[in-house]
């Protein structure tokens, strides 16, 4: 079985993650959808690294993980700040900012 199957798996996971971002109103769940998309990209990078026999794909996946960790920290801090201000983490609430 060729490692290309993992790229198919990654595209399915990416589609599920993007559907969650478009669909869910709960900010934390939408954020988890973003995480799933990042992980799908990572999976395809690792599969490409295996296919080409080169280590660069794994290094890139490692960089993506580090950036994702930083992004999660800041994103969750923003969610907490919004929750403190509005007592809600619904993504529809900021739409009220519109005049």
């Amino acid at each position: 079985m060729s490692p290309i199957n993992f790229v198919y798996l990654a595209s399915i996971l990416f589609a599920i993650g993007s559907a969650a971002v478009l669909l869910r109103r709960n900010a934390i769940i939408a954020f988890m959808g973003v995480e799933l998309m990042l992980n799908a990209a990572n999976l395809s990078l690792v599969a490409f690294s295996r296919m080409h026999g080169q280590v660069d794909g794994q290094v890139m996946a490692f960089f993506v993980m580090v950036v994702a960790a930083a992004e999660v920290v800041v994103g969750l801090a923003i969610i907490i700040a919004v929750f403190r201000a509005r007592q809600s983490i619904s993504l529809d609430e900021p739409a009220e900012l519109r005049g």
Partner: protein, 240 residues
């Protein structure tokens, strides 16, 4: 090459739990199933001869990131209701259509690519370390700066400035007296030298039970006893 049985197992434990992102009602259930997805992805990395990334995936994602998500879920309240009222008409179907279209597009494009698979495996940590700290050393340095910036940013974003001056201990005590609370401690439960337990009220010098010495929680649960028998014992002792 990849073991097909293992591949289908990994596909099942990544795709099925990730569907909870779309259909699960409670955010905690979503978080726990994403943890399972992360473990499945770690298995996939190890299958693809990248053991280093597999371990990092478990440590970083299941260990740190998803637990951080759970912390925040507990902080904002696990029973935050999600309102299902749609602000954009037909948003659900548009979202499903767009995401499904994206998936079909990606899969059909991958199916048209022809790839040759090398048999060399490159995942050992030594080799990754060599590449990381030679060719990508500048990237590593800037990632360190990024992580520190993110940590400081999170501190700044979650910091709440104090609106009023902090009350000193003397002010707290004065406030209690002003409200009319008893300034003295409540008596401890238990009968000295006879029955040293939380469910027995203390006896005053006349041998009457002091109800205030009992924990309110135990009273609500009906787990307390009255001090009558101990009073009787004390009186017997006095007669002897």
């Amino acid at each position: 090459m990849v073991n097909p049985v293992l591949f289908w197992c990994v596909a099942a434990i990544t795709v099925v739990p990730s569907l909870s992102l779309l259909f699960a009602r409670k955010a905690v259930h979503v978080a726990m199933s994403i943890v399972l997805v992360m473990v499945g992805l770690a298995t996939a990395y190890i299958m693809l001869d990248a053991p280093f990334l597999g371990i990092v995936q478990i440590v970083v994602y299941t260990g740190a990131v998803m637990m951080l998500f759970l912390f925040v879920l507990m902080l904002v309240g696990v029973d935050q209701r999600e309102d299902l009222k749609e602000t954009i008409a037909g948003q659900r179907w548009i979202a499903f259509l767009a995401a499904g279209g994206l998936g079909v597009l990606l899969i059909s494009m991958i199916a048209r690519v022809s790839v040759s698979v090398q048999d060399t495996t490159v995942g050992d940590p030594e080799r990754i370390a060599n590449v990381l700290f030679s060719r990508y050393v500048l990237v590593i340095e800037s990632l360190g700066a990024l992580l520190i910036t993110a940590a400081v940013g999170a501190l700044v974003l979650t910091h709440v400035p104090r609106l009023r001056r902090k009350r000193t201990q003397a002010e707290v005590a004065e406030g209690r007296v002003l409200v009319g609370a008893n300034p003295v401690n409540k008596p401890m439960p238990g009968v000295y030298a006879r029955h040293n337990a939380l469910d027995i009220p203390a006896l005053d010098p006349d041998g009457n039970a002091i109800e205030a010495s009992l924990s309110r929680v135990l009273e609500v649960r009906h787990q307390t006893q009255d001090g009558v028998e101990f009073r009787a014992q004390i009186e017997e002792g006095d007669e002897k």
